[in-house]
Amino acid sequence: MTAVQRVELRDLRFAGAAMVAVGAARGVSHSSIGLPCPLRALTGIPCPLCGMTTSVSAAASGHIATAFFANPAGLVAVVVALALLAVPRRESVDLPRWVVPAALVFMWVWELFRFGIL
C-alpha cells in the first residue's frame, strides 16, 4: 500500500483563491510587483518556486504558454485552485506521500535548466 498524506483543503482553498485573485489582478494590470527570490538574489541559484509569480499571473490571465515555460507548476496551481473552488464541500484529499517532494524536485530541475545552471 502506498503511504498517503491527508491534506486538509480549507486552507489550500483560501490560499488558492487569494493566489488566483492576485495573479489575475497582476496579469490584467501588467504589474511587475513581486517578491524577488531571496535564494536567487543571494546565490544566483533559483529555488523550486522561482517563476511561480510570473506563471500564476500569466495562467490567471490566459497566457498559457508563458505560464508553462516560467514554471509548469504555476499552471497546475491555478487549475487546482479553481478545482478546489468548484468542490467547496470537499474537506480533505489523500495524496501519495511522494507527490509534494517529487513536484518540488521537478520544479527545481525545471528552474535550474531555465536559468542555465544545468
Binding site: D11, L12, L35, C47, L49
Partner: protein
C-alpha cells in the same frame, strides 16, 4: 486540555489566521520604524526599529502566552509541540532566525503549512512548536 505533560493533539491555527496575525505584527513594527526614522534619521531608525522588532517577537513568542499582538488579536498562540507548554525565550530566538530559512526559497517554508499534517511551517518544525487556536488552548495571562 492544556495539560503541560501531553502532546497537543487538538486543532491548529489556519493559514488565514496566521497570515493576518503576521500582517498586524509587521504593521506594528513598521510604524515603530517609521516613527524612529523620522526622529533619528533613516539608518538609525531602521536599525533600532529592527532591533526592537526582534525583541518584540522573541519576548512575546517566548512568553508563557506565546502570543505577539497579532497572534493575540487573531486568537492564536505558539506552544511546544511535545508538551503543550511555552517554547521559552531560547527557542523563540531560534524560531526568529529559522524564519529566514522558511523565507529563503520564495517563502516555501511558510507555505509548507498548507499541506503539512500538523500545519507546521519549517520554522515551527525547527523549533518543535505548533500554532494553535486559543479557544482550544486558552491563555491564562498575557504576556504571562
Amino acid at each position: 486540555m492544556t495539560d503541560a505533560t501531553t502532546a497537543p493533539v487538538g486543532p491548529r491555527a489556519n493559514f488565514g489566521q496566521r497570515f493576518a496575525a503576521w500582517l498586524v505584527d509587521i504593521v506594528i513594527i513598521g510604524v515603530v520604524e517609521v516613527v524612529l526614522s523620522a526622529i533619528l534619521g533613516r539608518a538609525a531608525g531602521q536599525g533600532l526599529g529592527g532591533l526592537l522588532g526582534l525583541v518584540y517577537v522573541i519576548y512575546l513568542e517566548g512568553s508563557p502566552s506565546g502570543q505577539t499582538v497579532g497572534k493575540r488579536l487573531l486568537n492564536i498562540r505558539i506552544i511546544d509541540a511535545d508538551n503543550g507548554g511555552p517554547i521559552g525565550y531560547g527557542r523563540a530566538v531560534l524560531r526568529y532566525f529559522a524564519r529566514i530559512l522558511s523565507a529563503l526559497p520564495c517563502l516555501l517554508g511558510f507555505f509548507w503549512m498548507l499541506w503539512d499534517k500538523n500545519k507546521q511551517t519549517w520554522h515551527d518544525k525547527i523549533t518543535t512548536d505548533v500554532v494553535v487556536p486559543t479557544d482550544a488552548y486558552p491563555v491564562e495571562a498575557w504576556p504571562g
